[in-house]
Amino acid sequence: MVRSIRRSSFLLVFLLVLALTLLLLFQAGYLQAVESIGLRLLAPLEGAAASAAAGAIRLVDSARDLGNLQERYAALEKQANDLLVENIRLRELEAENEALRRLLGFAQANPDLQVKAATVRGQVIGRDPTNLARYLIIDVGERDGIRRNMPVVTDEGLVGTVDQVYATASKVRLINDLDHTVNVIFQRSRVKAVARGQVDGNLLVEWIPQDPDAVAVGDIVLTSGLGGRFPRLLVVGQVIATEQRDYEMFRRAVVRPVVDFERLDFVLVVTGFAPLEGLEDLLTSEPEPTVPGPEGTR
């Protein structure tokens, strides 16, 4: 018994020292190769597990959808009609916008022309196994041209930033991770601020001026492009609550991300885009609030 306890104590101390050594090696950046090999071995297993889980979710969704099919059909038909009308209106606006930009000499300001983004499509094969961080593991890495700090998006909006890159896989820090910040702009008021991830999965937008028109529930939040880390005007989320205290210089708003991170199967990694620093100043006449802190990771 005594020998067993002594053996366990020795093992505990040995393993704790080993864990501490690994921690120090990681902090010094010496574990990259080990992680790369480990992820290369686990990635196929993760891909298979993720596909199986996605298939199960789709099956459940399909069964649920069958029950509401009639109702959804009618709703979609109405939506299609509305979208048709909206589409015509948007085409008119686009044409008008294009003409105005040409006249003003700001042709390059059109994000569709300006942000000629090269993208790499990656499959989401895993998520952070802990409840303490929000990461995705995708099946593209250094071999595919992925580099650290590249923005990751979907057709819905901004997903996050590439944080760790290995040969065949990468870890993406989501925008609602506690350590992630992004410079944003409110679509309606054009006010710029900083959004930061929260524990509950939403974003907290800070440094909003006390102006009552600066932010309202339902406002759409976009990337501002300031700092050059993200293409501008990517959808980040929608304001679901605002906080205002008279004794504070700035307001705060809670933003729900538009991207459903739990259902993500594929993402696009933006491997190259033209940062548009300074362009926003030319397009808007409002004074800019101070944007403290670096964008991306804290």
């Binding site: 090696l25 998520r127 506690l178």
Partner: protein, 167 residues
């Protein structure tokens, strides 16, 4: 159970915890499958088996997590060591022991992780952490233990018989 079986089993559990469970969150969190397996195995086998499982399981979690290496291995080693004391019969044989171990294991695991992450400059706000992560996770893990412990017991019986046959 030999290392040749423990390593792939814990790798599989870590992959399921990373690739499958986050798709089905309950109250914003998912069950800590690896931690529960380590606790259950510790209660059944005691130390040093629990410690080895704790280290291997923690290393796989660190590999798949975006958090720094050691932030999962360290706490899981401590949790495994405590659970291993249960395997020595220190906590008795009451049927509620696995559930209590899951609850306490979650608190110890998360609290140590919080300290390590804070020490590494990743500050989690304590209030939201307790209400939105620690409490739901500890409840979920306690409930999930109802499925994990019987499976671990079955595995224990199977591997124990194997050892008797070949031993």
């Amino acid at each position: 159970m030999s290392l040749y079986l423990s390593v792939p089993l814990l790798a599989l559990l870590a992959v399921v915890q990373s690739a499958v469970l986050p798709r089905f969150p309950v109250a914003g969190v998912h069950a800590d499958l690896v931690m529960l397996a380590v606790v259950a195995w510790g209660l059944l086998k005691g130390n040093p088996h629990a410690l080895v499982w704790g280290f291997i399981g923690g290393a796989f979690l660190d590999l798949l997590s975006g958090l720094p290496w050691g932030s999962q291995t360290f706490p899981l080693l401590v949790v495994a060591g405590l659970a291993g004391l249960g395997g020595a019969g220190l906590f008795g044989q009451h049927f509620g022991i696995p559930f209590a171990a899951a609850l306490v294991g979650t608190w110890v695991d998360y609290t140590l992780s919080l300290f390590i992450l804070n020490a590494l400059g990743r500050a989690l706000p304590p209030g939201p952490f307790v209400w939105q992560v620690l409490l739901p996770a500890s409840l979920l893990n306690t409930v999930a233990m109802a499925a994990i412990f019987p499976l671990a017991s079955l595995l224990h019986r199977l591997t124990h018989r194997e050892r008797l046959e070949y031993g």
